[in-house]
């Protein structure tokens, strides 16, 4: 086991040691305010709309900046990949996204872009992030959960609007006429959002429209992209997303209807082909959900239809993913509550039907999942839960088990635990390699060099998380946790990226390996302190260590930084002004698949990514009563050349300005 982070920091960033010591000194500077010991899981964090605004979140993907142990990275700075809590063997975004109680997946082939959600961060009421496996809305979220609740419309007629823009530094400026090799970087966004709502006593109606843009002009990508891009303007990603939602109260419960469409003109870095592929990703969603009953017995239902189309975008190529998938889901569950016991029992039916001009061996995946969960609230500070699931995916049987809880050891100490085990059919992963084996010929048509295994193993995952939370005094809290993940039957693509000078991209050779096994263990520590009423600190540190007899498994985990630490200080100033300072250290990582390209380009696509120390600063102000919020955020203020992916964009210092307006035109 390596020496812990602080020594590495001291050696590597000796010129910043003084500030780190100052920060640690301030952390130890006393306590002030009462906080009761909380039974709340240390792996669950909820951010309110104010928390998000004050933390400088301008896009949904900025959430990954706030999540401990997320191992997030991006190639283009817009689509982010993250493995919450080290729960998935690759950063394939396997976490469950739930929006207003309905699980949704904007992704195709296991890659989900959270920024494609059809609303803006300023319309979020709160976000709950869970970094361990859990039961959410009748679904076993094996790789964590991001649960978003949008704001309920106020009573009356109301209008909401927000706009943000970012300016990334390192543009060529006037010197482009002296050195024409300098590439424009310029602005980020703007994400724009507008909504009109009507709220009445028994319900509400809201219509909204979100849009966003992102320039794919980083020097690492521009040569690859310009050969594909047709428009005279700079290569851009563009999002347009209308949404309508309606709620009404009836039968002792609340019912919600949602209709949304999210259209992203994308330049997705597609690893099997080694370059960005222009595509248009359209996600249509219709759902109805609700609850009926009272606090002792209630019935929940949910019906949803999602249509995900990955198609052509006008470009210099004729590459077309030609992929459409229709996803149906029906869910029903019963909740019972008596005394300190709760039970939830339910069933979910899912169907995924794929459409493509390729002839598929079979085009529909049908899944039935039944579950039951028992929850015992032993005392005010202790609870225990067990849940069991069975699944049937196209005649392949699977099962899942979950046990979690918290046990108070003393008035100031609580022990938390979560254990899960899952075995599922490989088909349930809905992965590109499954469909390629099933007859999807896109990769063959594009001349991709890939080898599939003779058979795909059933993935099996066991996780264990234990944490001890201690609140020794008012305003001071400490949590220490250990985690272990055991993976069996893992299927991953092993890429070898060979540099291709003609496209300035790569010619990858892909070998899909199945049946891998490995283990990841690690520990986390978090310290909360509130030395003054107007100042709070949060320091978190995570370390993870993979081990496996399979080299492919270990090399995959090497893409995650082994050490991460974040120190966040929040300040509440007069006149409803808030400020934050966030230091984030992310350890080095390694992308062995780029070794060939690294050698061929003498380090341009460096396999070994260094450690980075990032600093974000932000100011947030409420104006005009509660109606207006304004934020100014300087991300990567030290302008570290932050590039977590060998072929990806460097994310330089960027200043974001965001304004949002909530006006109630008519109140009743």
């Amino acid at each position: 086991m390596r020496w812990p982070l602080p020594i590495g920091l001291l050696l590597f960033y000796s010129d910043r040691v003084g500030f780190l010591l100052l920060i640690l000194f301030l952390l130890s500077s006393g306590t002030a305010y009462a906080q009761n010991p909380s039974v709340r899981s240390p792996w669950t964090v909820t951010y309110s709309d104010k928390d998000l605004a004050q933390a400088g979140v301008t896009r949904l993907s900025d959430l990954f900046l706030l999540i401990d142990n997320s191992a997030a990275y991006s190639v283009d700075g817009y689509t982010w990949y993250a493995a919450l809590g080290q729960l998935s063997p690759s950063s394939e975004n396997g976490w469950l996204l739930v929006i207003d109680g309905v699980p949704q997946n904007f992704g195709t082939f296991g890659l989900q872009n959270i920024n494609q959600a059809p609303f803006h961060i300023t319309d979020v009421a709160h976000i709950t992030i869970i970094r361990v496996p859990t039961l959410v809305q009748g679904t076993f979220a094996k790789a964590g959960t991001i649960h978003i609740r949008t704001k309920n419309p106020p009573s009356g007629i109301a209008f909401k609007g927000s706009a943000a823009a970012g300016n990334e530094i390192n543009d060529p400026g006037p010197f482009r006429f002296i050195d024409s090799t300098q590439v424009n970087i310029d602005r980020v966004g703007p994400p724009l959002y507008t909504a009109l709502s009507l709220g009445i006593r028994k319900g509400s109606l809201k219509a909204s429209f979100a849009s966003d843009e992102h320039h794919a002009t980083d020097i690492m990508m521009i040569r690859r992209v310009q050969k594909l891009h047709l428009d005279t303007r700079r290569p851009q990603l563009r999002l347009r997303a209308p949404r309508v939602s309606a709620t009404f109260k009836a039968l002792g419960g609340t019912h919600r209807f949602i209709r949304s469409r999210s259209r992203l003109e994308d330049l997705r870095f597609f690893e099997p082909l080694g370059l960005e592929i222009p595509n248009t990703s359209v996600h249509d969603h219709i759902s109805g959900s609700g609850t009926i009953g009272d606090s002792t017995r209630s019935f929940s239902y949910r019906a949803s239809y999602d249509r995900v189309h990955l198609g052509y975008r006008l470009s210099r190529t004729d590459i077309d993913f030609d992929w459409l998938q229709e996803r149906y889901a029906l869910h029903a569950s019963q909740h019972m509550h008596w005394g300190s016991w709760q039970n939830e029992t339910g069933i979910t039916l899912r169907s995924r039907r794929s459409h493509t001009s390729s002839i598929l061996l079979y085009d529909t995946l049908f899944e039935t999942e039944g579950y039951t969960s028992w929850h015992w609230h032993a005392s005010a500070s202790s609870y225990h839960q067990i849940a069991g699931f069975f699944t049937l995916t196209n005649n392949e049987f699977g099962y899942k088990a979950l046990a979690s809880g918290a046990q108070s050891l003393s008035p100031t100490t609580v022990l938390h635990y979560t254990f899960s085990h899952e075995r599922t059919a490989f088909e349930a992963m809905n992965s590109l390699w499954f469909w390629a084996r099933n007859g999807y010929t896109f990769l063959l048509e594009q001349g991709a060099d890939f080898i599939l295994p003779l058979r795909f193993s059933h993935p099996e995952t066991t996780t264990l998380d234990i944490a001890l939370s201690v609140r020794p005094s008012k305003g001071l809290g400490f949590t220490f946790g250990l985690f272990e993940r055991r993976f069996r039957g893992v299927t991953v693509p092993q890429y070898t990226f060979v540099y291709n000078p003609s496209s300035d991209g790569f010619t990858p050779a892909t070998t899909v390996v199945s049946g891998l096994a490995g283990r990841v263990i690690g520990y986390e520590a978090t310290l909360h302190a509130r030395p003054f009423a107007w100042m709070s600190h949060r320091l978190s540190y995570t370390a993870s260590f993979p081990s496996s007899p399979d080299v492919a498994f270990v090399s995959l985990w090497h893409q995650h930084p082994r050490y991460q630490t974040t120190l966040t200080t929040r300040l509440t100033l007069p006149s409803r002004l808030q400020a934050f300072v966030r230091w984030h250290y992310t350890g080095s990582n390694r992308w062995l698949s780029y070794q060939s390209a690294d050698r061929a380009t003498t380090g341009r696509f460096a396999t070994d990514r260094p450690a980075y120390l990032l600093l974000d600063l932000g100011l947030h102000k409420s104006l005009w009563g509660p109606r207006m919020q304004a934020s100014l955020v300087l991300r990567n203020a030290l302008d570290a050349p932050y590039r977590p992916h060998p072929a990806g964009a460097a994310l330089h210092a960027t200043l974001f300005a965001q304004v949002s307006l909530d006006i109630a035109a008519v109140r009743w």
């Binding site: 543009d171 060529p172 010197f175 002296i178 602005r187 300040l571 409803r576 104006l623």
Partner: protein, 208 residues
């Protein structure tokens, strides 16, 4: 920019951060009454305009361009001892070589500062701004390349001299660091006049 960030952090972490202490005023001791606070000066809204010249540039920029007099204007909200401001500055730059185009610039910025009052009529403002330096190039020289813009940080010091209850003169020295890939700096010297009036209640309510 690193220096500015470190300065901001030092202020944020300073235990004597004067502004924040006013939030923590939970003294309810009725026996030992706290002394009455001195009367706050009224909040003022001031509109200003001035002539601005380039007082100096970094050598890399000076090799390519020269500048004449520009115009600067904006507004200040004086909430003594704090001052908030927004404004813009217009300049033209001439290329020293045939291959380098002329360009005009609009520097839009917002900022905050601290007021040090020496007398009823003399105040020193110290502060910083963040802005966007937008350059529009001569399209005739280089077709298709019209605009560039970049983030700037600008610390400044300004002397403010009241000549009547509403009118004042000011002289300012500012250094704008333009964060292009090859950084350059522009030093500005501005002489101007401003007109102040009592900040309207709606403006204060809006900010509060």
């Amino acid at each position: 920019m690193r220096f500015i960030c470190l300065l901001v952090i030092a202020v944020a972490y300073s235990p004597t951060f004067a502004l924040a202490q006013s939030v923590d005023s939970t003294n309810t001791d009725t026996i030992n009454q706290a002394p009455a606070r001195p009367a706050q000066p009224p909040a003022l809204l001031s509109f200003n305009v001035g002539l601005s010249s380039i007082a100096g540039t970094t050598s890399n920029f000076l090799a390519g361009w020269e500048s004449g007099i520009g115009i600067k204007g904006g507004g200040w909200l004086l909430l003594e001892p704090i001052q908030l401001e927004g404004g813009l500055e217009l300049h033209s730059f001439s290329g020293r070589l045939m291959e380098i185009p002329d360009f005009s610039s609009i520097h839009v910025h917002v900022g905050a500062g601290y007021m040090l009052r020496f007398s009823e009529t003399t105040v020193l403002h110290l502060g910083g701004r963040v802005g966007n330096f937008r350059m529009s190039f001569d399209e005739d020289t280089f077709a298709g390349v019209r605009r560039e813009s970049e983030l700037t940080f600008t610390p400044y010091v300004r002397g403010w001299f009241a000549i009547s209850t509403s009118v004042s003169l000011h002289a300012e020295l500012a250094y704008a660091r333009v964060l292009t890939a090859e950084r350059f700096g522009l030093g500005f010297f501005t002489l101007g006049v401003s007109y102040a009036l009592a900040a309207p209640d709606w403006a204060l309510a809006f900010l509060q």
